[in-house]
Symmetry: C2
Subunit: 126 residues, 2 copies
Amino acid sequence: MGTQLSAFFQKQELVPAIVQEASTGEVLMLAYMNEASLKRTMETGYTWFYSRSRQRLWQKGEESGNVQRVVSVTGDCDSDALLVKVEQTGPACHTGEPTCFFAAPIYEEELGEHSGDGSTYVRSRT
Amino acid sequence: MGTQLSAFFQKQELVPAIVQEASTGEVLMLAYMNEASLKRTMETGYTWFYSRSRQRLWQKGEESGNVQRVVSVTGDCDSDALLVKVEQTGPACHTGEPTCFFAAPIYEEELGEHSGDGSTYVRSRT
């Protein structure tokens, strides 16, 4: 298992981890893991990440209580990204929104009617 | 719109883009966009990325034909990640697998029965 884990950190110390709600498939957030945070995630069954700004490990929800119980962790074909399926407690975003991708899309394909808010770039289906 | 786009490239030149199949919610791959590739994605309606190894823009499927028609692009709360919902043509992964996250999980929560292949780290639900 040690060999498997270190494979993700050969090219870079930090690997982007996509966090997805297991029950709905909704993408909740993207954060970064180093090897220590990935190990702690697997040991505890809850998500731990590496904060680039604070330069330390942090558990998602350590302050808010909005923790993420891990269902599975899967690497990609190049071993440089992780997909983490979780059961999210409460909202995933520190803003209180359910996911970190709550903003209006910056691009939206037009599907018969405009759904943009004016600032959204809408492109017609050809 | 220009201001909106450049907001994503203040902290870093390359932003991780999570590509998700719009119809199923399946996460297909993670790749990187710089501002030029994001613009080209929005202008063409198909995904373009920046290749760190080849140091150039590339269109997903430019060789294989397995292109990704973009349904929407949404930024996250910190403007440092993108969620790109697409309609994938053919397999998303260069290996021929439907997604780049086809490997056996490196961690899997046990849900009543073992589903690991032996190398998977399985943790019992407490």
